[in-house]
C-alpha cells in the first residue's frame, strides 16, 4: 500500500492506496453522510447516502464501496448529490418512527437535522407507515428490537456474523416488510448469547439494551470512562457510561486492541454487581462468633495486633497470604511486598495454582515462559488452531471471535475435548478422548507425525536442546503409542488421530490454545509436556502466528504472577532463591536483604493442608474465595476453622468471608486506578469510574495502612501510578512500560525499555531458557488413579459456562446474567440416564469420596457415556465438595476434572430450597 494522493471536492488528500474512500474522506474532515457503513464490517452499500461522482465513471458510486487509487478525483458534494441524499433521507423518514426517547444516539436523527428535513411534511406526502406492521421483539433478557426504528442497514446482521461469527441475526421478508430476526424468529428461542454487538453497532436505536434503559438520557451522562473488563483474561477495553455515580451502560471501545469494540455478554451486561446492595461497606469484626460492624481503626489495629502476635509466637512461616487475580497489578505487587516484608515469608499464592499452574510449570521448564506466546489477533490469521481442553467460546468469548473469523478465511480448527463445546460447530475435526487420557492421545499424535516424516528436523537441530539426540529419545519413547493402541485407550478413532496430527504438523503455522481440561489433572504437567513435545518437533513455535497459549481465566491472572504473587517467584518470574535479585529488590524496598525469605513458600492447596495441620495460624485473603474454588472443600473449611486468625478483604461477603475474624470492604475494578495484564501479556489500564460504596477502601491503601501499623511502613505512594513506577524497577520485562505509554492501547511484555514497542510473539529468536533452547520432556501415559468403581461408577468433569465467572461472586449479582443461567446442573449421557432410570430435570444427589451435593439432571450427549459434567460456579451446588486434593507432583494443581461419583435420584426441590 503505497502513499497516493487523491482529490475530493478540490481538496488534495494524501492517503494509502486501497483504503476505503468513505473512511479517507471522513478522516480528512469531509463528512460524507452514511448510515450503513461501519469500519468494523464489510461495506454494504445499502443506505445509498454516501454516493459520490468519480471522474471517468458514468454512474454514481457509493464511497463506502470504493478503494482509492492514485489520482482519483471525487465530487462528494454538489446539488445533485445533495438532492439525492435529501430524497433518501425523506424516504427513511417516511418509512420510520423517528420518535426517540433520548436513551441512545440516533445517527438518522443527526442527518435529519443536518439536512433540515421537514418531518411532518414528509409524512403528509408519503404515507408508507400505515401499510407496514412493524415487528417488535422483547423476548431477549438483555435487549429489545423495534422494526419501526430499523432502517435495514445490515449493521447488526454483519456485526453478528462478521464480527462475532455467531450468525444468529438475519433479515427476514423483503421490501418494506423486511426486518431483523434472531434465529428462526423469536430472540429468546434463538442461539443469541446476549453479547450485544448488535446494540453497539445499531445506528438508530432499533436494537437497544433493556438494563438501565430508562435511567438516563444519552446526552446527560456524567462521564464516560475507558477501562478494562473485570471478567476473563481477554482484557477487553470497556467504555463505561456513568450517571449519578452508577454505571448505566458498557460498550466496547472501538478500534482498540485487544477486542476492537467487541464484547461478550459479561463485559456488556455484567457491571451491575458494582452497585449491588450486597457490597461490603464497613469493616466487620467477629465478636462472640458474630461479625459486627466496626471502624477502620478498630479493624486495622486488631489485624496488626493479631498478625504480629502470630509472627512473634510462631514465626513468619505461620503466616500466609492469598492474593487475587481480580485485583490490579498494583494491589498484587504491594500484597506480595507486604507478605514478603511485613510477614517476612514467601507463603503467598493465589488461584492460578488451581488453573494453569501445571501449564506454567511445563512451559517454563520446556520453553522458559509460562505466558501465551502469541497475540490474540493471531488466532484469526494462523492457518491451524489446535484447541485442547479449552471451551474457548464460553470462557474467552472475544478471543473466540478471532478464531471464528479465521474460519471464514479458510483456516482449520481442531478441537480436542471429552465434552462437546460450542467451538465443535466450527471445527474441522473434533477429537473426543475419554477423560484423563491426554498423554496417550498426544504421544499418539507425535508417533503419527514422526511416522509420516512431518517433524521439522531443522527446527529440532537448531532450537531444541540436544537436537536430534533428544528427538531420538522422544521418538523411541513414543514408538509404542501406535494409533491402534491410542485409539483403544482414548476412544478416538485412528483416522481422526491421523487427520489431526497431519493437519497440525503440516500447517504453515499452527497455534495451540490449551486450557483447564489439560491442566487440572494429577498428570497436568505431563499433559502439557506432551503437548509441547508435539509443538517442538513440528517447529510450530518460534515464528509469527505459531506457538502455545493458555488463555487466562481471570482478568489479571497473568499480571498477578507477573508482579510476584507467587511462592516461588519474585516480580518478573525471578526465583525467590536468586540472591542477586533479592539484593536488588531489597535495595528498592529499602530493607536489609536478610529480612527476605530465600526459600520457596507454600502453594494454595499446601497452605490449606498446613493450616489443617496447625502449621499456618494466620492468613490474609485478598479478593479470593477458596471456600468455593479449592478442591476438597470440606477439608478447606476445617482448615479455616483451625486457624487462629483469618482476614478477608473483598467486595462481597463471600463464603470465605464467613470464616473470617475480620472482614475488610474493598473496591471493585470500577472504583480504582491501576493496570491488568491480559492473556497475551498486554498491560492495560484500569480507571476509576465511580466512588466506592460506604467506607470501602482501595486494596493497596489498606496494605499501606497495615504495613504502617505493623511497624514496617511502605513509602508513601501518591497514587497507583507511583506503585507501578516501583513495579517497573523490580520487573525487568515491564521496565519499558509506563502509564503514559499505555494511555490509548496496551503494550505486550517483554518491554525492557521505553523505546521498545513491546513483544507480540515470544521465542522468535530464542527460548527463555538459560541456553536459549527448548527442552523436550518425553512423558509416558499413566492410567488415572481415580477410576470408576461399583460404588462410584461415573467420572465427573467440571468447567465453566459463558454466563458466570469463577466463584460467581460478581456474575451472580447481575440480573441479566442470571436471566440466562442461574441454576446448577449435571450433564449425563442419555444411555446412562436410561440405565439409571433418570429423567431430564430430576433432582439428583451426587456423591464422591469427598462429599455430596444436590443438583438437577440434564440429559445430553455432550458427554460420553460414563462421564458427567457440572459447571462449578454455583454456591448452591458446590462441585468442589466432591473433588479431591490429590496434587500434580510438579505444579501442585488439583484434579478438578476427574472425580469418581455416584448419582441418585432424590426428592424434587426448587432452587430456592438450596439458597
Amino acid at each position: 500500500m503505497g502513499t497516493i494522493s487523491i482529490q475530493i471536492d478540490g481538496k488534495v488528500v494524501q492517503t494509502q492506496s486501497g483504503k476505503n474512500l468513505l473512511k479517507v474522506a471522513r478522516e480528512n474532515s469531509i463528512d460524507i453522510p452514511g448510515l450503513c457503513f461501519h469500519p468494523r464490517i464489510s461495506p454494504t452499500g445499502a443506505c445509498r447516502l454516501c454516493s459520490v461522482k468519480i471522474n471517468g465513471q458514468d454512474s454514481l458510486t457509493m464511497a463506502c464501496t470504493v478503494s482509492v487509487d492514485e489520482g482519483m478525483t471525487v465530487t462528494a458534494f454538489d446539488d445533485e448529490l445533495e438532492q439525492n441524499r435529501r430524497q433518501t433521507l425523506e424516504y427513511l423518514v417516511a418509512e420510520h418512527n423517528i420518535e426517540d426517547d433520548g436513551t441512545y444516539h440516533d445517527e438518522l436523527r443527526d442527518l435529519i437535522e443536518r439536512y433540515e428535513i421537514d418531518v411532518d411534511q414528509v409524512h403528509q406526502t408519503i404515507s408508507l407507515q400505515e401499510n407496514i406492521v412493524f415487528k417488535t421483539d422483547n423476548s431477549s433478557p438483555v435487549l429489545s428490537y423495534d422494526a419501526s426504528k430499523c432502517i435495514n442497514c445490515f449493521r447488526c446482521v454483519k456485526g453478528c456474523c462478521e464480527i462475532q461469527g455467531k450468525e444468529v441475526l438475519a433479515m427476514n421478508e423483503r421490501g418494506l416488510k423486511a426486518h431483523i430476526i434472531a434465529g428462526f424468529d423469536q430472540w429468546d428461542e434463538s442461539e443469541c448469547d446476549g453479547c450485544g454487538e448488535c446494540i453497539q453497532i445499531c445506528p438508530t436505536g432499533a436494537i437497544v439494551e433493556k438494563p438501565h434503559r430508562e435511567d438516563f438520557l444519552i446526552d446527560q451522562v456524567d462521564q464516560t470512562v475507558k477501562t478494562t473488563c473485570p471478567y476473563c483474561g481477554v482484557g477487553c477495553q470497556l467504555e463505561l457510561l456513568v450517571k449519578d455515580n452508577t454505571i448505566v451502560r458498557s460498550n466496547g471501545v472501538e478500534h482498540v486492541s485487544p477486542n476492537y469494540g467487541r464484547l461478550c455478554v459479561k463485559g456488556r451486561f455484567g457491571y451491575e454487581f458494582v452497585a449491588s446492595p450486597e457490597r461490603l461497606t464497613h469493616p466487620l469484626i467477629k465478636k462472640n462468633g458474630v461479625l459486627e460492624k466496626a471502624s477502620w481503626d478498630e479493624a486495622l489495629d486488631l489485624i496488626a495486633l493479631r498478625f504480629r502476635a502470630i509472627r512473634e509466637n510462631y514465626g513468619s512461616s505461620a503466616l500466609a497470604g492469598y492474593s487475587s487475580a481480580k485485583c490490579t497489578n498494583e494491589d498484587n505487587y504491594l500484597f506480595q511486598k507486604f507478605i514478603r516484608t511485613v510477614f517476612q515469608t514467601n507463603n503467598i499464592d493465589y488461584c492460578t495454582r488451581l488453573c494453569h499452574a501445571s501449564t506454567v510449570t511445563a512451559m517454563i521448564r520446556a520453553i522458559g515462559d509460562g505466558a501465551g506466546s502469541n497475540s490474540i489477533e493471531d488466532f484469526e490469521t494462523t492457518d491451524v488452531l489446535f484447541i485442547i481442553g479449552n471451551n474457548i467460546i464460553e470462557t474467552h468469548p472475544v478471543t473466540a471471535t478471532f478464531v471464528k473469523r479465521g474460519k471464514t478465511r479458510g483456516n482449520k480448527i481442531i478441537v480436542c475435548d471429552p465434552k462437546w463445546t460450542p467451538m465443535v460447530k466450527y471445527a474441522d475435526i473434533w477429537l473426543q478422548p475419554k477423560l484423563g487420557t491426554d498423554v496417550a492421545l498426544l504421544n499418539g499424535m507425535i508417533h503419527i507425525i514422526i511416522q509420516k516424516g512431518l517433524n521439522d528436523e531443522t527446527f529440532i537441530k537448531n532450537r531444541v536442546k540436544d537436537g536430534l539426540a533428544a528427538f531420538k529419545v522422544l521418538e523411541e519413547q513414543t514408538s509404542k503409542y501406535t494409533p491402534e493402541m491410542v485409539a483403544e485407550i482414548t476412544g478416538v478413532p485412528v483416522d481422526l488421530l491421523e487427520a489431526a496430527a497431519t493437519i497440525y504438523a503440516s500447517a504453515a503455522t499452527a497455534i495451540i490454545a490449551t486450557g483447564m481440561g489439560l491442566s487440572q489433572q494429577v498428570t497436568g504437567t505431563h499433559n502439557v509436556f506432551a503437548l509441547i513435545n508435539m509443538m517442538l518437533i513440528t517447529g510450530q513455535v518460534g515464528k509469527e502466528r505459531a506457538g502455545i497459549n493458555p488463555p487466562r481465566g481471570q482478568n489479571n491472572v497473568q499480571g498477578a504472577t507477573d508482579v510476584g504473587a507467587s511462592p516461588v517467584f519474585y516480580p518478573g518470574y525471578i526465583p525467590v532463591t536468586d540472591t542477586a535479585n533479592r539484593q536488588k529488590v531489597a535495595k528498592v524496598w529499602n530493607i536489609p536483604v536478610e529480612e527476605l525469605d530465600d526459600q520457596p513458600g507454600l502453594t494454595t492447596v499446601e497452605l490449606m493442608k498446613a493450616a489443617y495441620d496447625g502449621k499456618i495460624k494466620g492468613i490474609y485473603v485478598l479478593g479470593e474465595n477458596p471456600m468455593i474454588t479449592d478442591p476438597n472443600l470440606n477439608h478447606t473449611e476445617e482448615a479455616f476453622k483451625r486457624m487462629d486468625f483469618v482476614v478477608v478483604q473483598d467486595i462481597f461477603f463471600t463464603e470465605t468471608a464467613a470464616m473470617a475474624d475480620v472482614v475488610l470492604p474493598a473496591t471493585s475494578f470500577a472504583e480504582k486506578d491501576g493496570t491488568f495484564v491480559n492473556s497475551d501479556r498486554r498491560v492495560l489500564r484500569v480507571r476509576k469510574a465511580v466512588d466506592p460504596p460506604g467506607e470501602a477502601w482501595n486494596d493497596w491503601t489498606v496494605l499501606c495502612e497495615l504495613a504502617n501499623r505493623m511497624g514496617r511502613p511502605f513509602p508513601e505512594y501518591k497514587n497507583s501510578e507511583a506503585v507501578f513506577e516501583e513495579i517497573r524497577k523490580v520487573t525487568p520485562m515491564l521496565a519499558g512500560i509506563s502509564y503514559q505509554r499505555i494511555e490509548d492501547q496496551g503494550i505486550q511484555w517483554p518491554c525492557p525499555d521505553e523505546t521498545h514497542p513491546g513483544t507480540g510473539t515470544l521465542f522468535t529468536e530464542r527460548f527463555n531458557t538459560s541456553d536459549g533452547k527448548a527442552v523436550l520432556h518425553p512423558v509416558d501415559y499413566v492410567p488415572q488413579g481415580e477410576k470408576p468403581s461399583e460404588e462410584f461408577p461415573f467420572i465427573l468433569n467440571s468447567g465453566r459456562i459463558l454466563y458466570h465467572y469463577h466463584s460467581a461472586t460478581m456474575s451472580k449479582r447481575n440480573d441479566s446474567l442470571n436471566a440466562y443461567a442461574n441454576r446448577s446442573y449435571l450433564l449425563m449421557h442419555p444411555r446412562d440416564a436410561q440405565k439409571n432410570k433418570l429423567a431430564d430435570g430430576d433432582t439428583v444427589k451426587v456423591n464422591s469420596k469427598g462429599g455430596t451435593l444436590v443438583t438437577w439432571l440434564k440429559i445430553s450427549d455432550e458427554v460420553l457415556p460414563g462421564e458427567l459434567f457440572m459447571p462449578w460456579h454455583y454456591s448452591h451446588s458446590q462441585v468442589n465438595r466432591l473433588t479431591r486434593d490429590e496434587l500434580d507432583p510438579f505444579s501442585k494443581i488439583a484434579p478438578f476434572k476427574l472425580t469418581a461419583c455416584r448419582v441418585e435420584k432424590t426428592k424434587g426441590i426448587q432452587l430456592d430450597d438450596l439458597k
Binding site: P43, A46, R48, L128, N152, M171, G175, A178
Partner: protein, 413 residues
C-alpha cells in the same frame, strides 16, 4: 412473410429430450469434440468475432466476458461457470423451452464455455418453479456424465468439469447475476455491490462466468460452423438469431427464433397470427417488466439492440407482450409497479421505499382529482433518482416503462 431460423431451438419437438442418443444422432456433442481439440483462447476468439451478445437481457459481449474471466486471477486454482436459468422476467419463457426440449444443447454449451475459461466446476441455477426443466436437465446431466461429456478427463482431452444443479426459491431478484451468486453460496438473495464483477470475483470470490441459457445454447453452433457463418445471420449491429416469446393479445402466443432485425410487425402478424380476436394493436411491452412500452410507430423498426435503443426501447430478454385496444395501459402500469414493489428485496433505501412510493403515487395519479395529485413527470423524477442511486438493476428499472409511457402514451395518463 418471415420465417423462423432455428439455432437454439433446432431440436425442439424433433428429438426426445430424455434420450441423449437422439441428441447425439442429431449431431449433438460434435461441437464439444471439436472445441476440445482447440486451444481455449481460440474458442474465445471465435466468440469475440461472432459478436454474440448475452441473451439474458443486458446484451453484453459474450466473448469479452469469457476473456475477462479467463484472464482474471491466474493464480486461482478454481474458477466457475454459472448458467443463469432463473428465468423470471414477466413474459419470458425461452430458457424453459431449451431446458425442457433440448437440455443437452445447453449442457454442451456449458462444457465448451467452461473449457474456454478453464472452469473447474459448473452450476446451473434453475428457477424453482420450473419443475419440468429441472427434471429434464437433471436427467441430461446424469446421461452426459455417464457418456463421459461431464466429469474427469472429458473425451480424453485432459479437461475435467463437474456440473451441479441448484434451484432458485421464488425470488425474481435471484435472476440478477450477483444476487444469483449470493444465493448459490447459500446466502440470502441480496444483490452484491458491483464492482467487482463476477469475472474478477464471482462465486466464492473466484473468477466466474455467468451466462444465460440461450447464450450458452448458441455457443455449440458457433463453434461448429464458425463466427463467419454466424455473422451472416441477423443484422449488422446485432448478428445471429434471438428467441422472442410472444404473449398477451396475440392469436398464436409462443416462442419464435428469428434472425435479429426482424420487425415487430413481422413477429406479431407473420408468426403470431396477428391481434387476438381481430383486435387492433395498441402497444407492446418489450423486455418484460423491466422493459419498455412501444406504440405502432415502432412496428416496423428492426428488432436489434441498437435500433430499438434509438426509439427509447429495449430488446431485453426477448419478451413481447402484445396489448390490444381493449386493454387499459394504466392497469398494466399498476401491475408492473406492484411487481417491482413486491420483488424489491429491501436492501437499498431508494428501491425499497421508492418502489412503494411509485405505487402510492400512481394510485393518487389515477384516483385523485385535486391539483396536487402527482403527474407522470413526478413519477419519472422519482424513478430517475432510483435509477441513479439504487444498488441493483431492480431499482434501476422502473424508469424504463415509465419513460416509455411518457414517450408514447402520455395522453393516457
Amino acid at each position: 412473410m418471415i420465417k423462423e431460423t432455428r439455432i437454439t431451438l433446432k431440436n425442439v419437438r424433433k428429438i426426445n429430450p430424455e434420450k441423449i442418443e437422439e441428441y447425439i444422432k442429431a449431431g449433438g456433442y460434435l461441437a464439444l469434440q471439436k472445441a476440445l481439440t482447440q486451444k481455449p483462447e481460440t474458442i474465445i476468439d471465435e466468440m469475440l468475432q461472432s459478436s454474440l451478445r448475452g441473451r439474458g437481457g443486458a446484451g453484453f459481449s459474450t466473448g469479452l466476458k469469457e476473456k475477462f474471466t479467463s484472464d482474471a486471477c491466474k493464480t486461482c486454482t478454481d474458477r466457475f461457470i454459472v448458467c443463469n436459468a432463473d428465468e423470471g422476467e414477466p413474459g419470458t419463457f425461452k430458457d424453459r423451452i431449451i431446458m425442457e426440449r433440448d437440455p443437452h444443447l445447453l449442457i454442451e454449451g456449458i462444457i465448451i464455455a467452461g473449457y474456454s475459461i478453464g472452469a473447474t466446476r459448473a452450476y446451473i441455477y434453475i428457477r424453482g418453479e420450473y419443475y419440468q426443466s429441472i427434471k429434464r436437465v437433471e436427467l441430461a446431466v446424469k446421461q452426459a456424465k455417464k457418456a463421459g461429456y461431464i466429469g474427469q478427463n472429458i473425451l480424453g482431452s485432459g479437461y475435467s468439469l463437474d456440473v451441479e444443479i441448484r434451484l432458485g426459491a421464488g425470488s425474481y431478484l435471484c435472476g440478477e447475476e450477483l444476487t444469483l451468486l449470493e444465493s448459490l453460496e447459500g446466502k440470502q438473495g441480496y444483490p452484491r455491490v458491483k464492482p467487482p464483477f463476477p469475472a474478477e470475483k464471482g462465486l466464492f470470490g473466484l473468477p466466474t462466468l455467468v451466462n444465460n441459457v440461450e447464450t450458452l445454447a448458441t455457443i455449440p453452433a458457433i463453434v461448429e460452423k464458425g463466427a463467419k457463418w454466424y455473422l451472416t445471420l441477423g443484422s449488422k449491429d446485432s448478428p445471429g438469431t434471438k428467441i422472442f416469446t410472444l404473449s398477451g393479445d396475440v392469436e398464436k402466443p409462443g416462442y419464435y427464433e428469428v434472425e435479429m432485425g426482424a420487425s415487430l410487425r413481422a413477429l406479431i402478424y407473420d408468426l403470431g397470427g396477428g391481434i387476438k380476436d381481430g383486435g387492433t394493436f395498441k402497444a407492446a411491452l418489450l423486455g418484460g417488466a423491466a422493459g419498455t412500452f412501444v406504440d405502432q410507430s415502432v412496428l416496423d423498426t428492426p428488432m436489434s439492440y441498437d435500433l430499438l435503443k434509438e426509439k427509447g426501447a429495449v430488446l431485453g430478454s426477448g419478451a413481447i407482450i402484445v396489448i390490444s385496444e381493449s386493454r387499459s395501459l394504466p392497469e398494466m402500469t399498476r401491475s408492473i409497479l406492484d411487481f417491482f414493489k413486491h420483488e424489491s428485496c429491501g436492501k437499498c433505501v431508494p428501491c425499497r421505499i421508492g418502489t412503494a412510493h411509485l405505487v402510492q403515487m400512481f394510485q393518487e395519479l389515477t384516483t385523485k382529482t385535486s391539483e396536487t395529485k402527482p403527474t407522470l413527470d413526478d413519477m419519472i423524477n422519482k424513478a430517475e433518482y432510483m435509477s441513479k442511486t439504487s444498488l441493483c438493476p431492480l431499482g434501476q428499472s422502473p424508469i424504463l416503462p415509465l419513460q416509455s409511457l411518457k414517450q408514447y402514451f402520455s395522453n393516457q395518463f
